[in-house]
């Protein structure tokens, strides 16, 4: 499948997604935090299923904003207006029929700064299933264990599941947050610069975790670190001033970008 998108600063770009199944799609999304000031302009993108997609671009270009549109975390901001269409599995997530809680169960999120709850490790991971109505202790135990295993944290914490999550190291806390998102059995995981506050070793560990998750989940990761994008992602989207400049297979985007702006950015001429 080939699509052509008309953009204001850029001419069209082409993305080859013919081999992929599309799980999430945005069409002409405009977003204003403040009336008349567009933070996102006419963003259209298709995210392939069970692949890692990275959003790169200079700081303040709207990567996080776009990411938060996918689980409607922007909704609560007073005065915000969102136009355009965003679908997951072909269903408009902004339609009145969409249940917010179900959407967020389906689309998990890991934040830039790790934010475990001030509770025990087990409680943290079980939080999602619990608020989504699971009461059975055995079932919860199983979900917690599986989520922690997938997040590569099980071995480190299995003997102290009741200890406070806040006693974990920064990298462990972030992986706990990943586990917490995984416990909900989401289809899509949004990660907003998940490693930006971590040391290289922890970052490495997170990247390994992402690598293991790619088989089963669709991951959209925001990063300002191009090496990271190159390392972990299958596809990369480059954004600037609220617009989608180029979206392509990572290998192609980093070696042979279609756009001058993209090339300038990845070669470090600005940003």
């Amino acid at each position: 499948m080939k699509i052509n998108v008309q953009n204001s600063i850029s001419a069209s770009f082409t993305t080859d997604l013919s081999k992929e199944k599309i799980i999430l799609e945005t069409k002409n999304v405009d977003l204003c935090y403040v009336p008349q000031v567009r933070t996102l302009t006419n963003v259209s993108i298709q995210i392939p299923e069970k692949k890692v997609t990275a959003f790169i671009g200079p700081s303040g270009c709207g990567k996080s904003t776009l990411l938060r549109c996918f689980n409607r975390m922007n909704d609560l901001i007073p005065g915000i207006s969102i136009k355009g269409l965003i679908t997951i599995d072909g269903i408009d997530i902004y339609s009145p029929e969409t249940k917010l809680e179900e959407l967020r169960k389906k689309v998990g999120m890991v934040f830039q700064k790790s934010n475990p709850f001030p509770m025990g490790i087990w409680e943290n991971v079980a939080f999602g299933p619990k608020v989504n109505g699971i009461r059975e202790k055995a079932e919860l135990d199983e979900m917690v264990e599986s989520a922690l295993i997938q997040a590569d944290l099980w071995k480190e914490v299995k003997d102290r599941l009741n200890n406070s999550a806040l006693d974990l190291s920064g990298g462990q806390q972030q992986r706990l947050c990943i586990a917490r998102a995984l416990a909900n059995k989401p289809e899509i995981i949004l990660m907003d610069e998940p490693a930006s506050a971590l040391d290289p070793i922890s970052t490495n560990k997170i990247e390994e975790t992402i690598d293991e998750l790619r088989e089963n989940y669709t991951i959209i990761i925001v990063t300002h670190n191009m090496q990271q994008a190159a390392r972990v992602s299958d596809y990369t989207a480059f954004m600037m001033i609220g617009e989608m400049i180029e979206f392509n297979a990572t290998s192609k985007l980093f070696t042979n970008p279609e756009k001058k702006l993209t090339e300038d950015y990845i070669t470090g001429r600005f940003g």
Binding site: P78, P118, N184
Partner: protein, 728 residues
């Protein structure tokens, strides 16, 4: 370079001054709190000082029949058996004057009995004569000096019915009309009473032997105030006569008060309580109470420390409920009736005791011993009515049918038995606090949750300052409104108020759920002001509906009047100024504190946590419940406790909006008397240094300790919760 160092010097100097001032301020606060604490303690401690008896001076001479001194403790009189009265000047240390009672040759005085005030004494001689006299010690002033002028006044004398025989068990008293009463026995069994009616100028003499059945009478006492005569016999039987009908004294009842012979009887100040002393050394107080059959009967209410030897004398103080008991072995006990306490045991260095008496001011005890020495002892006994037990335990007060916690600090006269149990006051404070907290905690906390988590920003900006202004509302204004406006309003509309307080929250929940039924996207279209308007209209509607139905309901189900219905069916009384009103009024004072601190604590929960929760699919309410509230629990707890502290210490509201009735009853529909209000009301009336004064300081100290504990608890538990949940 030069300038820089100058500047640095100034900076250093300023730093020093600033840190000095701040340190000073900090220590100043601590020191002043400590000073207040120590001041309260120092005003309170004398309550618990031990009673002490210390010898001041002694004089020698034959043992008198009767002894006394003036109010200023300058002159002592002694009446001897030969009728001579000597006046001893304490400063000059010598007798300054003599008087004589006219006795016939060889006649000797053998006993005496006087009124409590000692303004008239009856002497009994060995020839069977009774001689009444008064020894008056009147202060006279010339210039700056005062001298006590002694004077003997002779009143009537007469022979007991069977003259020539010596008389026993003489008891004399005089009432406020000047009517006099004498009782005596001859041959230990024949009982006589003589009554002199001043107004009619008539004398009545009756022989009561028929009524007592001729048993051996061992002691007698008259209480002229209530016109009661008590006689005891060798079998421990008490005969209780009503002598108010001068023509025929009536034996009201007689009962066995003791298994042992009763050897001494005396009425205490106020004339209600009578002290009995037995041959085996028992000392007991009896007074009249109403029993379950509604009969008034004398009942043993207090038992004092046993003497282990026959009680020979009981001497009541004319100032308070202190009385002295002396036994045959010469030991003296100083007892206080209200507290059942024996405060001093005194053996007078084993010299025996022939005669004891109080000075008129009751701060000197005069003891004549067997060795012809008369000792004057200073008595330190400022607050006998206050003990730990009387403050916090049940006490059997005169006229009460059982031991109780009572606060009734002042009465009309000296004879009033002050009742200073702190329990009703502590109870009152806790009761007021309880209802205030029941009312304010839900409102304040739900309000804070709404404002910090759900309300639109523009609304929160309005609500917060309004509630903060509420905190600035002087409590006297709240108290005034509650006492004078809301109390009558509540009384009139009791059913409506009760209905509203039960039904309003339920209906509110119903309304909110109805609101929730409207699809979210449609709801979104309404602005938040609409949401509020909707709620407001609904509440007005609810109010109108209840207003409309409350009166028909009252007629239909409650016989037209809920108050009467409550009273007749459940025996629940309704006071106009009651705990319901106070709880609400006090709640109004507490709400701003709890609200503000809770709101802050909730708002301070980091957004990253709520975002995490929401992103996991939790609803807004689940997020509040599972993440925000636990994380803010430390702050919320502190808020509640601080509110509690405010409610405990609050004065004006409880003063004005309760009836200040010191009762122990949790009912919502009657009042209470709080510690703070009691201090405010009673401290202006309390004589400085008196028992009430000091008990009020103790109350203040307790309040201080209460609030101190409460606030420390708030800090401690708040900290713990914060450490546990608020490490973000």
């Amino acid at each position: 370079m030069q300038e820089l160092t100058k500047f640095q010097k100034r900076l250093k100097f300023e730093n020093k001054v600033a840190s000095g001032l701040i340190t000073l301020g900090g220590y100043g606060v601590i020191v002043s709190v400590l000073l207040i604490f120590f001041f309260l303690v120092s005003e309170t401690l004398p309550l618990f000082w031990k009673t002490s008896l210390e010898k001041d001076f002694e004089i020698s001479g034959k043992t008198p029949i009767s002894i006394g001194m003036d109010d200023y403790k300058e002159l002592v009189y002694q009446v001897y058996e030969n009728g001579i009265i000597s006046y001893y000047n304490i400063k000059q240390k010598k007798n300054v004057k003599y008087d004589t009672l006219s006795l016939s040759a060889g006649e000797k005085i053998i006993s005496s009995s006087s009124t409590l005030e000692k303004d008239e004494i009856a002497f009994c001689t060995d020839s069977g004569r009774i001689i009444n006299a008064a020894v008056l010690l009147t202060p006279e002033y010339s210039g700056n000096s005062r001298s006590i002028v002694p004077k003997l006044v002779n009143y009537e004398d007469f022979y007991g019915k069977e003259s020539g025989k010596s008389l026993e068990n003489l008891a004399f008293d005089k009432n406020e009309n000047g009517n006099k009463f004498w009782v005596w026995t001859s041959e230990k069994k024949n009982v006589f009473i003589k009554i002199f009616d001043l107004e009619e100028d008539l004398n009545y003499t009756h022989k009561l032997t028929e009524l007592t059945g001729g048993t051996k009478i061992t002691a007698s006492a008259i209480n002229a105030e209530t016109e009661v005569l008590f006689l005891s016999d060798e079998n421990g039987e008490i005969f209780y006569f009503d002598i108010s009908n001068y023509e025929s004294p009536e034996l009201k009842s007689h009962w066995k008060a003791s298994n042992n012979e009763i050897t001494a009887i005396s009425f205490l100040i106020g004339g209600n309580a009578v002290v009995l002393g037995s041959k085996k050394g028992e000392v007991e107080i009896w007074f009249q109470i109403r029993n379950e059959n509604d009969d008034v009967v004398f009942t043993k209410t207090q038992v004092f420390e046993n003497h282990n030897s026959e009680i020979t004398k009981i001497v009541p103080s004319q100032r308070n409920r202190t009385f002295l008991t002396v036994d045959k072995s010469g030991e003296l006990h100083l007892n206080y009736s209200t507290t059942s306490a024996t405060n001093v045991k005194f053996d007078n260095e084993k010299k025996g005791i022939k005669l004891v008496d109080f000075s008129p001011t009751a701060d000197v005890i005069i003891v004549a011993d067997d060795n012809s020495k008369i000792g004057f002892f200073n008595l330190q006994n400022e607050h006998p009515e206050v003990t730990v037990n009387s403050l916090f335990g049940k006490i059997w007060y005169e006229g009460y049918s059982k031991p109780e916690f009572v606060w009734q600090s002042t009465g009309g006269s000296d004879a009033f038995e002050s009742k200073m149990s702190l329990i009703p006051l502590i109870f009152g404070t806790l009761k007021g606090t309880l209802y205030a907290m029941l009312f304010s905690i839900p409102i304040a906390i739900f309000g804070a949750i709404y404002v910090s988590q759900f309300a639109p920003k523009n609304l929160a900006v309005i609500i917060k300052p309004i509630i903060e202004i509420m905190a600035a509302l002087p409590s006297v204004v709240i108290g005034f409104l509650a006492g004078l406006f809301f109390s009558p309003l509540f009384e009139k509309n009791l059913l409506l108020i009760v209905l509203l307080s039960v039904a309003a929250p339920i209906l509110f929940v119903v309304i909110i759920s109805l609101w929730g039924l409207i699809p979210e996207d449609k709801r979104r279209k309404f602005s938040n002001t609409w949401e509020l308007t909707f709620v407001f209209i609904a509440m007005v509607l609810v109010f109108m509906i209840f207003w409309g139905i409350s009166e028909p309901l009252e007629t239909l189900f409650f016989d037209g009047n809920v108050k009467n219905w409550l009273y007749s069916n459940f025996n629940i009384g309704y006071d106009q100024r009651n705990s319901l009103v106070v709880g609400i009024a006090l709640g109004f004072a507490v709400i701003p504190i709890i609200f503000t601190i809770t709101e802050d604590a909730l708002t301070n929960v980091p957004k990253s946590l709520t975002s995490a929760s929401l992103a996991l699919g939790a609803s807004k309410w689940q997020t509040v419940q599972r993440v925000v509230l636990p994380a803010a629990s430390g702050g919320i707890f502190a808020a509640i406790i601080l509110g509690l502290g405010r409610a405990i210490g609050e004065t004006m509201i409880v003063l004005m909006a309760t009836g200040n009735t010191p009762i122990l009853d949790l009912s919502l529909f009657n009042g209470f008397r709080a510690m703070s209000a009691t201090i405010a009301v009673e401290i202006p009336e309390a004589p400085v240094g008196g028992s009430l004064y000091r008990v009020l300081f103790l109350t203040a100290l307790l309040l201080l300790i209460f609030t101190f504990i409460v606030n420390s608890l708030a800090t401690y538990i708040g900290d713990k919760l914060r450490k546990k949940y608020a490490r973000y």
